[in-house]
């Protein structure tokens, strides 16, 4: 029996992979074996033939950001002619449209604008909650870290106040690759890996659910990808607060990192490996925004059990020249033609419309 075959047996027996095993698997297993193993794990975790999705909208409250990450095509300097901070009117209209389309939540994120302090964010949350019945999935750890630093109060206190003002859960953005040597090269002004994990730990501690992401396909090594997955797995062992993991590939157009974009096979290998390593994170999301509808559908056989958001609006990936569209009925068709029942979900990955009991 070869080393890989032993690993396959280990996975089928639901045993946990260590760093070296995960790395060998990621590098050496053939594409379909990786996919079939990941699909097996997915079926074990989610035995019913259901694929979930969420109807929501990405609202970026500002594109001004002092972070200056090399991989970003979206941010602007404060003085730039197309810099903006969202008005209440515009925000209200976007939320009304979201609700009218059957949306249940908004993903509210921004750049790190030097003039928008914690009070501004709290007012924004209160404004939304006063006027609309909608779940707010907002403020990535990077923003929360920045708010904590600028306000001089700790992360737990910032989180308490955001929750009191209406924040419902936290998106897993800004994780990029949770290895500081990589972060120093691509996002030198952004918080460190341990800062990011600290925010998530604090959030989980007070009962906030969060997702986790990984952006690969730039300057990271294979080992960095595995390290990232293991850091998520360790924290999840401790807190159980991650609802889902979402890997996506870096889109180099209009950015300052010039590498060829990761291919579909690269993406599917990372996705399947994520499913195999993250045995304690319940859901794995396909990224149609970066991969397109075909590879997103295929992702459902490589470990993913969630199609993510219909994204009535998306700005950040679009700024890097990628414009895939996926309306709700098309998402449903893709899920059904892959042999699954589509179920609209909440941020907790529970059905929006619970089925009537027996």
């Amino acid at each position: 029996m070869t080393y890989l075959q032993r690993l396959y047996g280990k996975i089928e027996a639901a045993a946990r992979l260590d760093a070296d095993e995960a790395l060998r698997l990621y590098r050496e297993a053939d594409l379909l074996s990786l996919g079939r193993l990941a699909h097996g794990v997915r079926n074990r975790l989610h035995p019913s033939p259901v694929v979930t999705y969420v109807v929501d909208r990405n609202i970026n409250y500002t594109n001004v950001c002092v972070s200056g990450c090399l991989f970003c095509a979206y941010y602007r300097a404060k003085e730039a002619p197309d810099a903006y901070v969202i008005t209440r009117d515009a925000l209200g209209r976007k939320i009304e449209e979201t609700l009218a389309l059957g949306g249940t939540q908004i993903l509210l994120q921004g750049g790190m604008h030097p003039d928008l302090d914690l009070d501004w964010c709290l007012d924004l949350l209160r404004f939304i909650k006063t006027h609309f019945d909608i779940h707010i999935h907002g403020f990535s750890p990077t923003e929360i870290n920045c708010l904590a630093r600028n306000s001089g109060i700790g992360v737990p206190e910032v989180l308490e106040r955001l929750v009191a003002a209406g924040l419902g859960s936290i998106p897993g953005g800004g994780a990029e690759i949770l290895v500081d040597a990589v972060r120093r090269r691509i996002s030198p002004n952004k918080c460190s890996a341990s800062d990011w994990l600290h925010v998530m730990r604090c959030a989980h501690t007070i009962g906030l659910k969060t997702t986790a992401t990984m952006m690969f396909g730039h300057v990271e090594s294979d080992r960095d990808i595995i390290s990232h997955l293991l850091r998520i797995r360790e924290l999840q062992d401790e807190t159980g607060g991650f609802t889902a993991f979402i890997p996506w590939s870096f889109q180099p157009l209009n950015t300052r990192i010039q590498v060829p974009p990761a291919t579909a096979v690269d993406y599917l290998r990372v996705l399947a490996t994520s499913r195999l390593v993250l045995d304690n994170v319940p859901n794995l999301q396909a990224s149609w925004v970066t991969q397109g509808d075909k590879i997103a559908q295929l992702a459902l056989t490589f470990g993913a059990n969630d199609m993510g958001s219909t994204m009535i609006e998306e700005n950040v990936v679009a700024a890097a020249g990628i414009h895939f569209r996926l309306p709700k009925d098309e998402m449903i068709r893709l899920i059904e033609s892959a042999g699954y029942r589509p179920v609209q979900r909440t941020y907790r990955y529970t059905p929006v419309h619970p089925e009537p009991g027996p």
Binding site: Y8, D30, L31, L32, S33, G35, R36, L37, H39, N43, P260, T263, A264, V265, D266, L268, Q291, G292, D293, K294, I295, Q297, L298, T301, F302, E330, R333, L334, S337, A338, G339
Partner: protein, 371 residues
């Protein structure tokens, strides 16, 4: 690794024993929900034939006219005579199109067009001679069975005579288009004016008998049933048993935009990968299966290399027919992009000529025309 669909176990046993798959087994393959299991079966067959190699060709497409008497319902490319947007290339325009890319190492010209009533055999012969003199080192792969039939009828020459005149002028291979779905029902509904299944097979057989290789295609994803797809593969397989003239099979994903069938949704990744994998398994006597990236996208074509495909077709610049029907793939891929797609899928790229002979020294990146 176990299959989640037990039917695949039996099929795997048959394949291992070298037995031919039946029509019903073809249907079971189309029906299975174990997409990766199906892919693994096809991948094993593909690896036995081609190892870790994945082929591509440095080619150029030339569409000499879009004026066509056929009016097929699935076509967004054709124009009627006198309709705005219709074109027919003059020999000067042909020479110019070739001259624009004279410094590129093009190995194959893919030449197809509509059935333009204004063009006689003379035009076709001149077209071939013009291309041959401008590109003596490239293979001319031209005219589907539909065009050959048309030429034979309009010139009142026998099939054999028509083919031999074209060969004398430079024709070296036939592409596989115009087969659509080899079914009388689909023919009646979608492309009545075009030759039917029997005639398509008759012409291809005559072409093979004349010593030319050809490809074969299937246009799927419109109104055809799984039974009709499998029957199509079985008919190709039967002809191949007689002639051995098919070089590659190319499943073509239907694109509906700007056609009379624009209400039909696009094919999904599952449809596209099944078409590749099932054809690899059913067509046990055809050497190559192409993943045509123009139609299924570069991303899925790359993945298809693990589902039975061994060839990514051509670099192609300025693909027109599928893009007029709304394809969102690139209009061309550079040689470097092609090599990167193949290598990142874990395969060894082989730049080939029309007959799958490796092109010597071709993996040294040359002049690139990235689009």
């Amino acid at each position: 690794m176990r299959f989640t669909d037990s039917r695949l176990n039996r099929i795997q046993d048959k394949i291992s024993a070298g037995d031919r798959l039946t029509f019903n087994e073809g249907l079971a393959l189309y029906d299975t929900r174990d997409l990766l299991g199906l892919g693994a079966l096809a991948d094993a067959v593909r690896r036995k034939r081609h190892g870790n190699r994945a082929y591509f060709v440095y080619n150029q497409h030339l569409n000499y006219t879009n004026i066509c008497a056929n009016t097929c319902l699935f076509c967004a490319f054709s124009r009627k005579e006198g309709e705005p947007g219709g074109f027919t290339l003059s020999m000067d325009e042909v020479r110019e199109a070739l001259a624009q890319r004279a410094d590129e190492p093009i190995r194959e010209l893919h030449v197809v067009g509509g059935l333009n009533p204004a063009l006689g055999l003379g035009y076709y012969l001149e077209l071939l001679e013009t291309i041959r003199s401008a590109r003596p080192e490239a293979t001319i792969k031209a005219f589907t069975a539909v065009e050959i039939d048309y030429l034979s009828r309009t010139s009142k020459l026998s099939l054999q005579e028509t083919i031999s005149k074209l060969m004398a002028a430079g024709l070296s291979m036939l592409p596989g288009g115009g087969a659509e779905v080899l079914s009388d029902r689909v023919h009646e509904k979608l492309f009545r004016k075009k030759i039917d299944a029997g005639r398509w097979l008759e012409i291809v057989e005559a072409v093979h008998r004349a010593g030319l290789k050809s490809n074969a295609t299937m246009l799927y994803g419109h109104i055809e049933t799984a039974e009709e797809r499998v029957a199509h593969l079985c008919r190709l397989r039967a002809l191949q048993d007689r002639t051995g003239g098919f070089s590659a099979f190319i499943p073509l994903a239907f694109h509906s935009k700007n056609t009379a069938l624009s209400h039909l949704p696009a094919t999904t990744a599952f449809d596209d990968l099944k078409a590749v994998a099932v054809s690899r398994l059913m067509l046990d006597n055809i050497e190559h299966i192409k993943a045509y990236w123009v139609m299924i996208g570069e991303k899925l074509a790359q993945v298809a290399l693990s589902f039975g495909a061994d060839d990514l077709d051509g670099t192609i610049i300025e693909e027109k027919i599928t893009h007029m029907a709304g394809a969102t793939s690139a209009k061309g891929l550079s040689r470097n992009e092609m090599i990167r797609l193949i290598e990142s899928a874990g395969f060894d790229p082989v730049e080939r000529d029309s007959f799958y002979r490796p092109v010597a020294g071709a993996t040294v990146p040359g002049k690139e025309t990235s689009q």
